[in-house]
Amino acid sequence: MKKTDKKKFDCKDIEKNVQAYLDDRLSEKEILKIEEHLSYCLPCDKKVEFEKRLKKLIKLKAAEKSYPKKLELELKKIIRGHQH
């Protein structure tokens, strides 16, 4: 293991990596470092939990629950060549 690999993540590293962490874009090694930090740093843990909730909230509230049924009709017209 390289010397730098032994370095623990500090709060700044959490800020720098939180979005990639929440999107599951980090390597296993990086995830372990982050989770180790979160296990003893309560302020970071709270912030990361908050971000997780926010991300879920955006998905839940920003997606349309329905769409105009007219579109289904348009789709049928298009594939049958009655459109344009």
Binding site: I58, K59, S66
Partner: protein, 190 residues
């Protein structure tokens, strides 16, 4: 009688009408334009269906056509420079603001999030400059991966990441200003 090819297209695209419309609505800001955008997308997708490779990601393929159709139709409008300052965009903006401004327990911070109306979240998203809005929608609402988004918007992975991260930070700033405007912060510190 519709041909097998017509039926195949219909069965592939039908499950995604809702998410195509949802994204179109957030991009165009109104229902009529969103319907037109989806309709044009369906028409173009059907015409290009021969180029779609079987068993590849149809959803991403359809979204790529939606994005291209949007950019072509709204080229003039989106060419206007959008003045946004990115210098002081920081991580955990909303959380830090809540911490500074109100004396709340953690559970109250979570309630604060739940209190946002759907319209506030949608408005905040719709206020993002379109490049940022697009990647935030594709990732956080539609659940596409970074690689899929890079393919959909035809941009390098680094561009996707920087737009996504900035877009989310900007979104938190907008949500914060909605919260203040709507009076969600009843327990403000003196």
């Amino acid at each position: 009688m519709p041909s097998a090819r017509q039926l195949e297209f219909e069965s592939l695209v039908a499950p995604h009408l809702s998410s195509l419309y949802s994204t179109a609505l957030r991009m165009t800001h109104n229902q009529d334009d969103a319907e037109d955008l989806v309709q044009d997308t369906l028409f173009k997708a059907f015409r290009a269906f021969d180029q779609y490779q079987k068993n590849t990601n149809f959803r991403a393929w359809a979204f790529r056509i939606l994005v291209n159709t949007y950019i072509t139709a709204y080229r003039k409008a989106i060419r206007q420079p959008q003045k946004v300052s990115y210098d002081d965009l920081e991580e955990f903006y909303l959380y830090k603001k809540l911490d500074e401004t109100i004396s709340l327990h953690e559970t109250a911070k979570e309630d604060f999030l739940e209190n946002f109306f759907e319209d506030d979240v949608k408005d905040a998203l719709e206020n993002l400059p379109y490049q940022f809005r697009l990647v935030v929608l594709l990732c956080d609402v539609e659940g596409f991966s970074y690689n899929e988004i890079a393919n959909i918007i035809d941009a390098p992975l680094g561009t996707v990441m920087s737009r996504l991260y900035r877009g989310r930070k900007l979104l938190q700033r907008y949500l914060w200003s909605y919260a203040k405007k709507r009076g969600y912060l009843l327990n403000e510190k003196n």
